[in-house]
Structure formats: C-alpha cells, structure tokens
C-alpha cells in the first residue's frame, strides 16, 4: 500500500484522536468519532485517487483497521503526554470512587491484588507522570476498540458511498 492510500486513514485517525481527546467535543461525538473518521477516510481516498470504482469489502476493512490503528496510536500518545505534563488523568481522579465501589461489594481477599495494582499505577502516575502498566492498558484497549469501531465505520462507509454511485 503506497503513501497515497495510507494518507486518508492517517489524517482521519489523527483527527479522531484529537477530537476524542478534547473533552467538550468527545461529549458530542461519543462512539461515532472513529466510525465517522473511517467514512471520511474512504471519501477522501476516492477524492485523492479520483476513483469511481465501488469500494469492496477488503478495502473497507483495510481502511477501518488502519484508521482504528492510527486513532488508537495517537489517542494513546495524547493521553500519555497530558498525563506526563499534569501528573494526573481521569483514571487517577476516578480511582478513589472506583476503589470504594469495589470495596463496598466485600469481595474475596484475592481481589485486593486488583486494588493494589490500581493503586500502584496511580502512585506511579502521580510521582513520575508515567506508568508502564497504564500505558500498556490504554494502548491495548484503545487499539482493540478503535479497530472494531473503525471496521464498523468502514462497512457503513462502504454501504453509503457505494449507494451514491
């Protein structure tokens, strides 16, 4: 795949990451951000490559996956950057509430490990602004969810754009 084919996914994935990082806009866009980014990527690809051909499933999936990967990559970078600068994030701020909720269910002592792990992550973030485990956790969750929603956007985009032809 040449640069011309990756560029729309790259740009739209980056845009989706920016939009999903800005709190006000995220509230409006919700779960439609990554699917919309993939649809726009498919549209841009048509415009850049002057293609009048119908989009096939393979292309729609490829665009969905690529846009999802780029969105996840940049979302993680932005999240890490903001966390590194501010030494806090949504996770750290919500942790006391999360812990009290888990404790209120009086779970087995085995689950104390979960709480201690969460505490360790929050402590690392507060002290150094970075936690390897948190980074791993957000990257894996971002990549999985963004790829799935990218694929959904790719399929919807394929359906919508093909019916316009």
């Amino acid at each position: 795949m040449d640069t011309k084919k990756i560029l729309p996914s790259f740009v739209c994935g980056f845009g989706a990451a920016v939009v999903s990082t800005v709190p006000g806009i995220k509230n409006i866009g919700c779960c439609l951000i990554v699917p919309a980014a993939t649809l726009i990527a498919l549209f841009l690809d048509e415009k850049i490559n002057h293609s009048d051909l119908k989009i096939n499933l393979k292309k729609a999936l490829a665009f969905g996956i690529l846009t999802g990967i780029f969105a996840a990559f940049f979302s993680t970078i932005f999240d890490l950057l903001l966390t590194f600068i501010s030494h806090t994030n949504d996770y750290v701020e919500a942790l006391p509430q999360t812990e009290s909720l888990i404790k209120s269910y009086k779970l087995d002592p085995l689950f104390d490990q979960t709480i201690s792990m969460l505490d360790a992550m929050a402590k690392q973030i507060k002290v150094s602004g970075f936690s390897p485990l948190y980074t791993f956790m957000i990257f894996i969750s971002n990549i999985f969810i963004d790829i799935v929603f990218g694929i959904i956007g790719g399929l919807l985009g394929m359906s919508y754009l093909n019916k316009r032809k």
């Binding site: 999903s20 709190p23 509230n27 919700c30 779960c31 096939n56 499933l57 996770y91 689950f111 999985f144």
Partner: protein, 160 residues
C-alpha cells in the same frame, strides 16, 4: 453450494453478530450485576476504561439501576440496544435488507438534531429522547452492516 448450506452460513453469521452485540451490551450494563457476580466488580476499572474510549460516561446522562450507572450514556445505550434488537430480529426475518439508500442518513438526522439542540440549549437533555434517537440509528446501522457482510462474504465466495 446447496441451498441448505447457504442458509446455514447466513444464519451462522447472524448468530455470531447477535452474540457479539449481546456480549457488548452485557458489558456496559455489568455494574447492575456487581452484587451477584463478584468478578464483574473486580473487573470494573478495566471495563470502565474500555467503554470510556467510546463514550463520555457522564453520570447525569447515563441510565442507572439501583444506583448502578451503566458504563455508556443514554444515547450509546440506545445505539447498542438498537443493534442488539435488530440482530435478534434478523434471526427471525431472513429478508432483512435496507430498501432505502438514504435510510442510514435519515436515521442519523434525529440523533444529530437532538445533539445539536441540547448542546445549543434549545431544550434540556432527555435520556429517553437520546435513547430513542440512538435506538433508531443503531438498528438501521446494523441492517446496513449485515447487508454488506452477507452480500460480500456469502455472495462473492459462495455464489449466494
């Protein structure tokens, strides 16, 4: 490929999509089951994190049962529930194809208008309205996705 096998492939695809939609929906209502299934409570930080990628999770905009908030807002609850209902319906109605080319766009309009009007302050955010607009969009989106998958996966390879 005989008609029976084609039929089974079609049903199999629809069951798979229903199971995926069901698991996703169970995931965001999991806080409701914390008291009865302890392991769900232990996984709360991780499930909350996963759903936070796709939803703002503002408490005032989410449904709750017994003070346990869902992990997604009312609009997202509607979208995913719509997809789940449509996936369930697709198991019983085989000719489940969108006839109107612009239905996807039309289904998005009420949702966008509701977002626009609540953001502009024309009226207050209503969970029921948000869910209803999401429900419509979610169910229509599912029919398009199913249509695309069936037309491409089952038609091209299997000549269905």
């Amino acid at each position: 490929m005989n008609v029976s096998k084609q039929f089974h492939n079609r049903i199999f695809l629809r069951i798979c999509l229903f199971v995926i939609a069901f698991i996703w929906c169970v995931g965001f209502i999991s806080p409701v089951f914390f008291k009865s299934i302890n392991i769900l409570a232990a996984s709360y930080p991780f499930t909350k994190r996963i759903y936070s990628i796709v939803c703002h999770q503002i408490g005032a905009k989410t449904f709750s049962i017994n003070n346990n908030n869902f992990l997604v807002c009312a609009r997202c609850t509607g979208i995913y529930s719509g997809a789940l209902i449509a996936s369930l319906a697709s198991l019983f109605y085989l000719s489940f194809n969108p006839r109107n080319n612009n239905l996807l766009l039309y289904s998005l309009i009420p949702l966008l208008l509701d977002v626009l009007f609540t953001t502009a302050g024309l009226y207050h955010y209503s969970k029921i309205l948000a869910m209803a607009t999401g429900l419509f969009f979610g169910s229509v989106s599912f029919t398009y996705i199913l249509n695309i998958l069936e037309n491409n996966l089952l038609t091209e390879k299997n000549g269905y």
